[in-house]
């Protein structure tokens, strides 16, 4: 009788080339696939060039331009300047190392973590490491995804492996059903608020329970994507029929006999019933409300019906200190009604929330409504494919009529490496993942929330409760 294992342990065991220490805590981990972007990869390729090394299996890597490109509708030129240097060097690297590239003009260009799943490249049981922290997204498929730095990109390209330290196991169970108007984004923001920005540091988390089972694949991707914001270096949902249905028929997914063989193997990809977790956290879905962040760390968030907490009531002195600093940066006062916070920008986009389901949710709010005067509102679809799907459904017309700009794909205002920058002191309702100081621009103030909540805020000109608006 084999010892019961968690899904995470099964994935790591299946990819262990050898142990690097006696305890088997540090291992050489085989990596199935990677996706590269133009801003974290250049120095890795330079390292390979200088050492005269090749890529071990270049066919397992895909290059996608997403971080620095403009998302302005006219896709004629690059921005001009340093961004072009990165994109051009990236193209040269992909060509010289025999790696497929989706450049700005490719039909499938988009945000890497949206592109990979929609092509069917994220499969249960894989290990996918990439130079972007939100690689955790792939856990939604029962694939171990995690972010790495540039030195490790170089290591991965050269050896198809990583020096990897095993994580502890955390189970996050979400029982019951989410109320109407409450989304995966609100759920993961509630998890982060509950356990803190370092709450899952050193852990791989597995999401389970009825509320997770009932989430769409898009919703599960949102959950796993943002799990990194509570420190998780891996987030998993056990694959089920919904996962298999999503993958089947995707352009680059296995098909025919290959798919049949894969499906047989994938049924074992779940934690054994007796498997032990180092920590277990339980949430009741019915108690979750639409969430917004008020501070500069993703755990500084509250239900939209709440008021901004008073740091003086915080018992932990460190959290009190950080909350005072955050409120000062955000230009907010304790006790303020969150719904009184006026916004200057509304941004729907990012690898967290720019898939077709997210755009449909935003369109349901925006149909027949107008963006409040003085609010600059943009929608950046997660991929060129999502953009085409949305246009086929007529969503683009709803957005444009409401007063949103309808953009090409890229990371855009999530991290403002392109020309979409929030000015100092301005405030943005954002469907993204990080409300860090300066994230959307030096001095910019970010409030994280679901895409539908961003749409509602854009219409009201202030943060507002989706449940009091409803669909038109």
């Amino acid at each position: 009788m084999l010892a019961p294992k968690t899904l995470y342990d099964k994935l790591v065991d299946a990819h262990t080339v050898c142990n690097l220490d006696e305890a088997g805590q540090e291992i050489l981990l085989y990596v199935d696939r990677t996706v590269l972007n133009e801003y974290t990869s250049p120095q890795a390729f330079t390292g390979l060039r200088e050492a005269g090394r090749k890529a071990w299996r270049p066919e397992t890597a895909l290059g996608v331009v997403d971080h620095v490109n403009s998302t302005r509708p006219a896709r004629i030129t690059l921005i001009g300047g340093e961004q072009d240097i990165q994109s051009e060097y990236f193209a040269r690297n992909c060509r010289d190392f025999d790696i497929e590239l989706f450049d700005l003009f490719h039909r499938q260009q988009g945000i890497e973590h949206v592109v990979m799943p929609e092509l069917g490249l994220v499969l249960p049981g894989l290990v996918i490491a990439a130079g972007d922290s939100h690689t955790t997204t792939y856990g939604a498929f029962g694939s171990l995804g995690f972010g790495i730095g540039t030195s490790d990109i170089e290591h991965l390209l050269a050896t198809q492996t990583l020096v990897y330290r095993r994580l502890k196991n955390m189970l996050i169970r979400v029982e019951g059903d989410l109320p109407v108007g409450v989304t995966a984004k609100d759920l993961i923001m509630s998890v982060i608020r509950k356990i803190g920005a370092a709450g899952a540091s050193g852990f791989a988390v597995e999401f389970a329970g009825q509320a997770i089972d009932r989430l769409s694949m898009e919703g599960r991707m949102t959950m796993c994507n943002m799990a990194v914001e509570c420190g998780a270096r891996g987030a998993l949902v056990a694959p089920d029929q919904k996962t298999f249905d999503y993958i089947s028929g995707k352009p680059r997914a296995p098909s025919g006999e290959d798919l049949a063989a894969a499906l047989t193997a994938w049924t074992d990809l779940r934690s054994d019933p007796e498997a032990g977790f180092d920590e277990t956290v339980t949430l009741e879905a019915s108690a979750i409300e639409p969430m917004v962040s008020w501070g500069t760390s993703p755990d500084q968030a509250a239900p939209i019906s709440a008021r901004i907490p008073d740091p003086e009531r915080e018992t932990d002195p460190d959290r009190k200190r950080d909350a005072i600093r955050a409120l000062d940066y955000m230009g907010l006062e304790p006790g303020m009604d969150l719904r009184a916070i006026r916004i200057d920008h509304a941004f729907i986009g990012s690898c967290t929330n720019a898939r077709i389901e997210d755009l449909r949710a935003a369109a349901a709010i925006l149909k027949g409504r107008k963006v409040a005067s003085g609010v600059h509102a943009i929608i950046v679809p997660g991929s060129s494919e999502v953009r085409r799907m949305a246009e086929a459904e007529g969503l683009d017309r709803i957005f444009i009529q409401a007063g949103f700009e309808w953009r090409q794909s890229g990371c855009s205002m999530c991290l403002a490496m392109n020309d979409d920058v929030v000015a100092p002191g301005e405030r943005c309702a954002s469907s993204t993942n990080r409300n860090f100081e300066g994230r959307q621009g030096a001095g910019a103030r970010t409030h994280l929330m679901s895409p539908a909540m961003v749409a509602a805020a854009a219409v009201a000109g202030r943060l507002s409760d989706i449940r009091s608006l409803g669909s038109n």
Partner: protein, 208 residues
Amino acid sequence: MRFEPFVCEKAHIAALPAANIDTDVIMPKTFLKGIDRKGLDVGAFHHLRFASDGVPRADFVLNQAPWTQAKFLVTGENFGCGSSREHAVWGLLQLGIRAVVAQSFGGIFFDNCARNGLLAIESDEADVERLSRHANAGKEITIDLDSQSIITPGETIGFDIGERRKFMLMNGLDAIGITLKRRDEIASFENEYLGQRKWLAGKGVSAA
């Protein structure tokens, strides 16, 4: 890539009393647009170090004597959380920072430190508090990696570090070169792994 080994260093230590100092704060996006590792010293903590007109902020510890000479930082929980950008580590090193003592680190940042010779030391809350007091008193301290100790005026604080990480840091070794010595082992693992998974074999990310 080989890097400057960390063996033993004596220097000032600057306290950054906050949790969750993220890599956007350590290295703002404006400085991520190059294709090499150079010129990142000016980017490190840029918005904390400089006002929007470029004038150094007098209220930031690294702009104050004696911490303008600091080679060590002591800080709270989850230092280096957020974005994977290794530029944060490159920038700290270029600013002269050789070691960071924190209650905990963001996972990717922690690995990035090890790959570049920045010593990341995880300490408990009490040790971080003690070190912060020494930092604020403007005292120099010594960090000795070999004996895994932080030597302050009056006390010595031990710390834990994985054996392999310590060895790599003390020798400034290129991890890729070491892994490639296992080339045959990797190839044989790969053969067997792909042999059992026909749906992956040979295809990679190319069209099915």
